[in-house]
Symmetry: C2
């Protein structure tokens, strides 16, 4: 039970991109510098976000990344699934069908109760993530963050953003 640490970077990156003016982009290298992480590695995760239609990428000079849709239409679940993959955390290996007492596969048409319980828990987990939007996180950020941090963030964006024609 352990999430990839790229999830955290991906969420932070998405929040930074949310502050861009409409249509502007930010290079992946700028995002990496802003967060103090390896640029080459951050691109790996941003790529996943692009594949999940959460971000859009613009190639060439004046290119970079931007959100593919509004902050209120992007949930934490979208980001987590884009990085971690859609498969559930608990994978039933059907060990009930192994061992000396195994029957023919047709005898196991009913789903495994353990698997069902674990998936039920994970549905609750995902439900909370799904109802938490990026807009909620941003709202909390501007309310709690140090004003200097906000000012730096704005200045950084002003300096690094690119506006393709």
């Amino acid at each position: 039970m352990k999430l990839s640490e790229g999830v955290e970077a991906a969420i932070h990156s998405a929040i930074v991109l949310a502050d861009l003016p409409d249509g502007a982009t930010l290079p992946g290298s700028a995002l990496a510098e802003y967060h103090g992480v390896s640029g080459s590695y951050l691109l790996k995760h941003l790529k996943g976000l692009v594949a999940a239609k959460i971000l859009e990428s613009v190639p060439g000079p004046a290119g970079g990344y931007r959100l593919a849709r509004g902050v209120e239409k992007i949930s934490l679940l979208d980001v987590v699934l884009a990085i971690e993959g859609p498969q559930p955390a608990f994978r039933c290996l059907e060990i009930r069908q192994k061992g000396p007492g195994a029957l023919e596969p047709a005898a196991y048409n009913k789903p495994c109760g353990i698997n069902a319980a674990m998936l039920r828990a994970e549905r609750a987990y995902r439900a909370v993530l799904a109802e938490t939007k990026l807009s909620d996180l941003i709202e909390g950020y501007v309310a709690d963050a140090d004003p200097r941090a906000v000012a730096f963030s704005c200045a950084f964006l002003e300096r690094s953003q690119r506006m393709p024609r």
Copy 2:
């Protein structure tokens, strides 16, 4: 986001042990044989369950494992935490404090909103697991399982259980 596959074996093992008569034990090797998994490796996880006070171990001949308390007092969460460890799946690395715009640590007294949201989701996850007891799983098992599987299970226990004096 991936659970150890030992979790599944641990839950199945606990359910098997639940069918033992009061006070009887079952060797780890019997549990491994029943599930068709490596005995040496299963012991590693059973050890974790013992450390978490979910199982009791009895050494020597006629020894083995048994549940440390009633099936209605053991939740799925107990088992999962015993195997996976208590730390949450999402570990906030505080990357907001990294990078060129970092401030002194005292400026980050408010908790990170992202971390808070992820932990909120995980609390929902754990809440579902906590309210699912072993007794619930057993109830579903006897209702859905093939009668032959139940018969084999009973015969196996009858054959392998040990009764320390």
